[in-house]
């Protein structure tokens, strides 16, 4: 877990500059990784169905850095960032997208089913909200065994309209299991704006916690420090036995829903404004006052890392066709 300092003279905490620099590096790594994914998809190299989380990197990084390795996560269709932030090497993620046995799911999962149990990633889910109930059960297992671990579910604003979400949060709160429910509220469910999918004003989606009497913590999802501190608080709360937390983070999807989405449904000016003012990487770069020189050096390093992951993936092993039948049963 990252270093957190008490702010002198107050109960508030802040993240050390060194840690913020680490965060910056990881966020940029995720960004460059996903840009590469877009590029390789357009080049026709990547099979399947891909969703990038460009604009939402502060959440992946801020949340996962607040978790212990033993803590577990369940991710969504927009999974690359969470997976990298939870500790899977970009090589293994890229190899998965190329369908190679070296991939983090052995080539069986693909972009929407990134798993890495070793580092606590219980898998991404292509069914909206599909992973949330499992997180309640994982947290219950921790509680029953007296383990000091939390289980964390990521999901979007669109997911909060599902029955699965509702049943899961209700059960989690009822049993006070050590879970954190991370709502990545980017205001869109595919092409459907929040005004067409949730009767609550977009910034009030946190009110859904009230239906269960659940602790709500909110933070600016574009500010990695805020995300990180909020997650630490949420984790503490969940571990204290007081019950789970709904962690509501407002964020922005700065690209299409899926790679290749022409976004006909979206106001182009607004998107442009958002790209200019809400990019979490730009915001952090400004705050860290990174020199262009420093930035470019870092960026070059990261770009090379991402390039290397593509090389790694391409050099990977294709599964044998009949391997398809290998893991049906344990």
């Amino acid at each position: 877990m990252a270093t957190v300092e008490e702010k002198a003279g107050s109960g508030d905490k802040r993240v050390s500059e060194g840690t913020l620099r680490d965060f910056f590096r990881e966020m940029l790594l995720i960004r460059r990784f996903e840009e590469k994914v877009e590029e390789r998809f357009r080049a026709g190299e990547l099979p399947g169905f891909l969703h990038v989380a460009i604009g939402q990197e502060a959440i992946a990084t801020g949340v996962c850095a607040a978790l212990a390795r033993e803590d577990v996560i369940a991710s969504t269709h927009r999974a690359h960032g969470h997976t990298i932030a939870k500790g899977t090497h970009v090589n293994a993620v890229m190899a998965e997208l190329y369908g190679k046995t070296e991939g983090c799911s052995g080539g069986y999962g693909g972009s929407m089913h990134l798993y890495d149990v070793e580092v606590g990633n219980l898998g991404a889910n292509a069914v909206v909200a599909g992973g949330i109930p499992g997180i309640v059960g994982a947290a219950l297992a921790f509680q029953l065994r007296g383990e000091k671990r939390v289980a964390v579910a990521f999901f979007g604003d669109g997911a909060t309209n599902t029955g699965t979400f509702h049943e899961s949060l209700n059960l989690a709160q009822l049993w006070k299991v050590p879970a954190v429910f991370v709502l990545e509220n980017n205001g869109w469910a595919e092409s459907t704006p929040n005004t067409q999918h949730s009767p609550l004003p977009i910034d009030e989606l946190g009110k859904r916690a009230a239906a269960f009497g659940m602790k709500l913590i909110e933070a600016d999802g574009q500010d990695v420090e805020a995300v990180h501190l909020a997650t630490l608080a949420a984790r503490d709360h969940a571990l204290s036995g007081k019950g789970p937390v709904l962690l509501h983070l407002r964020t922005y999807r700065l690209t299409g829903h899926f790679v290749g989405d022409p976004q006909v449904y979206r106001d182009k000016d607004e998107l442009k404004r958002e790209r200019e003012t809400k990019d979490p990487i730009e915001l952090l770069r400004a705050r860290l006052e990174l020199s262009d020189e420093d930035f470019e050096a870092l960026d070059a390093e990261i770009t090379a890392e991402v390039e290397a992951s593509v090389e790694f993936a391409k050099a990977g092993t294709d599964p044998a066709p009949e391997d398809a039948l290998k893991h049906v049963y344990a």
């Binding site: 369908g99 292509a126 669109g158 469910a189 949730s198 039948l325 893991h327």
Partner: protein, 326 residues
């Protein structure tokens, strides 16, 4: 005769029904501005407005359930479940409510609801975006089940489904959307419960649905080259099932292959085999061969995916196997 893609044919049936009948309206995720995740409903929002082309929250139970309620009030809702994998979330409403209201009410109610959905492999979607689950619904009295394989069929059958007074689960196949075919100038409704003989033949009958109709037709061509004459029948409506056409065909050819993309075990091919062995017992010269997906959740990597799902080659192999039987 105009040519339409399967996608356009679905859209054409929807648009015509929307035009003709105020009671018809559409609900589903991303069907409005975006025109649906498969671009099927593109343009409909512009023509019919947001009251009748309704984007919904991600709430598959409520989408189907509210469709049921509107149908009970005499509307003819057409709801879309984006991928049939997500029908798993609306099973309760479909199976316990839509299928049973009529019987439970002693015939007071009818449920003229159409649930459109699509699925199918062939594009590396992974295990949760490509299932073929039509067999489940064939087991549910009160539902009707349609699975169309050509532009002409999909248009005529969707029309009939919308105007049927019963709940219809209407399956489309993702990889068929771009295929083209001639359709009559005027939409001709195709009655539910009537199979289509796509190709006549004398040595073996292939009963196929969805994408496998096309694979089977390709296999039939190849078999022809080897001197095997193949009849290809598409039931089109899985429930109620046109047993007569199918059984008569097998009585004539004396051999049979069933073919669908769904997993073989417990699939619709099992029901077909059970019906055919019963109805054509004295005629059968070989066991009925079933072609379907191999027994595994669909893996992501293309080589594994292709290994799991059936192709023309698998149908051809099955054809040859039945014919090889003394």
């Amino acid at each position: 005769m105009p040519e339409l893609t399967y996608r356009e044919a679905v859209r054409d049936a929807l648009a015509r029904a929307l035009r003709e009948d105020d009671g018809v309206f559409l609900m589903g995720e991303d069907i409005a501005e975006m025109g649906g995740s498969m671009a099927v409903t593109q343009g409909l929002l512009e023509e019919f407005g947001p009251q009748r082309i309704r984007n919904t929250p991600i709430s598959e139970m409520a989408i189907v359930g509210s469709g049921i309620g509107a149908a009970l009030q005499g509307m003819r809702p057409v709801v879309e479940i984006m991928y049939e994998d997500f029908l798993t979330l609306s099973m309760e409403q479909l199976v316990n409510q839509a299928a049973k209201h009529r019987t439970m009410s002693g015939g007071q109610l009818k449920v003229p609801l159409t649930v459109r959905t699509q699925g199918g492999a062939g594009w590396s979607p992974g295990a949760q975006h490509a299932q073929q689950l039509e067999a489940w619904f064939v087991h549910v009295p009160g539902l009707k089940v349609v699975f169309a394989s050509t532009p002409e069929d999909v248009r005529g059958l969707l029309w009939s489904s919308i105007y049927d007074d019963n709940p219809v689960v209407f399956f489309e196949h993702r990889t068929l959307y771009p295929i083209k075919g001639e359709v009559p100038e005027e939409l001709e409704p195709i009655p539910l419960g009537k199979a289509r003989v796509h190709r006549e033949g004398t040595d073996v009958t292939v009963v196929a649905t969805g994408r496998l109709v096309h694979e089977s037709l390709a296999a039939a061509e190849q078999a022809e080259a080897d001197g095997i004459s193949v009849e290809v029948v598409d039931p089109r409506t899985l429930l109620p099932l046109d047993e007569e056409t199918i059984v008569e065909s097998v009585k004539k050819t004396t051999r049979c292959v069933t073919a669908h993309e769904a997993v073989t075990r417990g699939g619709f091919g099992a029901e077909l085999a059970a019906v055919i062995q019963h109805g054509a017992f004295d005629y059968l010269d070989a066991p009925i061969e079933r072609v379907g997906s191999k027994f595994a959740p669909l893996p992501f990597a293309p080589v594994m995916e292709q290994h799991v799902v059936p192709h023309a080659a698998d149908v051809l192999e099955a054809i040859k196997k039945t014919v090889a039987r003394a």
